[in-house]
Amino acid sequence: MTVGLTETFEEPAFVPYLVAGDPGYEDSLAYVETLADAADVIELGLPFSEPIAEGPTIQEAIVRALEEGMTPERYLAFVRELSVETPIVCMTYYNLLYQYGDEPGPRPFVRAAARAGIEGFVVPDLPVEEADPLRAACDEFGLDLIFIVAPTTEGARLARIRELVSGYVYVQARMGTTGAREDVSGRTAASLARIDGWSVPKAVGFGIKTGEHAERIVRAGADGIIVGSALVEIVASGEDRAAVTDRIATKAAELKRGALAGDE
């Protein structure tokens, strides 16, 4: 297993998420590149028509991107075109990985993703039970495979995830779907405690919206924070590219500052 992404968590990491192609290809390129200054890893969504783990904000972003013609092939072109040093992780659903290329299974997409410069995967509808083929493909092409640990994950499931995870572990802060919240769940500390001895960094996501949230999460023991909906909401505002770019940069800086403050 590779450790490529692990190294990026030396200081509290800011891991933003945007949907590739939202609201259109060119705008989206600009927004993702804007994130690169503050971000330590970028989770870049490859939109799927049935995103069962997403709340309304990201569902709508996925619809916008699909309507503007985003496909797995264009996604790979998008990644190649990005001029960022920040590592890119592909977040998508299993059917798109499974269907790509001329052999069934995730291997062709993982190979193509590796060539495009992607460094890891998060696949929210792929629990460890079904993950062996993707883990094998990621190993073959030197990519990390990030798994989600939910508030309900315990016992044997934790042990199995610990065996398969690489890069970082995505700690789901609360139950439900993605989406920015006004508060941060009190279950985060308990979730972090359950995976205390793990060698991979722990990045917490689901509901983080402000620098103050970020600070609190890092203070609770997280190695990084994952923020999606709070950024996607800015894209969804419908303002012009310059205004959205500006607001994304401001929000990203706030979140990174918050994460760093949590470590002081």
Partner: protein
Amino acid sequence: MTAPTEGGRSARTEADGKYGAYGGQYVPEALMPAIEELTDAYERYVLDNEEGFIDEFRRRLADFGGRPTPLQRADQLSARYDREVYLKREDLLHGGAHKLNNALGQVLLAQYMGKDRIIAETGAGQHGTATAMAAAHLDMPCEIYMGETDIARQRPNVFRIRTNGAEVVPVTTGRGTLKEAISETMRDWAGTVENTHYVIGSIVGPHPFPALVRTFQSVISEEARRQARDRIGRLPDSVVACAGGGSNTMGAFDAFRDDDVALYAVEAGGSSLGVDQDRGVAPNSASLSTGTEGVLHGARTKLLQDGDGQIVESHSVSAGLDYAGVGPELAHLVDRGQVEPVAVDDDDALEAFHRLSQAEGIIPALETAHAFGYLETVSEGQADGLGEVVLVNVSGRGDKDLETVLEETADRELSVAPNMDVLRRAGGLGGGQADAADQGE
């Protein structure tokens, strides 16, 4: 009645939830502990009858549900098709469809598991109705997710769900049909799984749902098989059932799987077969006949998808068949040649709706009408595999579809449709419907 643990039944329940290449558990990690808990409950209560679960389920199915449902010889259809046509009357089950078999089983199971809230998705509204009834019967709070398109075209069932005291949550994403309703119910469950049971309505979703729902629905074929022996003195040559997700299909087939009985799954052919890659839609719901392998809603199965793996919008005049996927076990049986998938289009289904209503005095659900449509189309040809004795599963009654049928019939030239002049003259057709009726004349 044969308990599900007897005979060869339990041997067919794949422990890992795999049906050949199909099945599995493709769901968010947050749901997996609940899936494991449900698997454990399925094995203990349903398969092993712990705490007398199955005994209570059977008793409630009889007292509350009205089981057993009759096996009836269809005299006019038998004469028309020159063969013995028998009907398994699931439309006479409480609620008017086979759906209660599963809904009652799962709500009762939720109670045994100590859950205190029920959620479910519904397409045609039959599963939502059955779940709302079962939840009222067992005194559990209940919320039903339903696409807005389906709410509009299945209003009688929305009234029934609300009348039984359950909430209806409109789903506005996508085209607002069953696919979106399932996705939205899964999202609710991801946040509420600790106290909530998701009563999935068909043999779809992650293991153990396909096995669990099939086990509850197999009462249909267990009864029919026994009734055929008693009444006809033999088994049917074939069983015909409509297939959307496939719960009435597997229910009607299950006990005949080891017999020399041909099994026909009739899918919704919609307006035409195939997937329109450019528009990303399928003008049908024929995933068994035309779908390709993929992963949707927790299972690997046959799907209507584009070349990239995006799920396409399906279509059928029948809301209950309007789904881009199908149960993994049914997909597997089709691949193995044990079940023959066939398709009946919207027009033939509507004709069959009217024919059965007029010939037998049974108004079928539009879903069910597809099964009778197959009987008609195949009987027009020469050779067929239906044989001398055909059993058709009447999965549900059509009261819920009368508005849809009135509108759809007016738009088409159907040989058997009645005209509704009497209603129009009395001013009983609303504006839009009167216009539609005019066009049909």
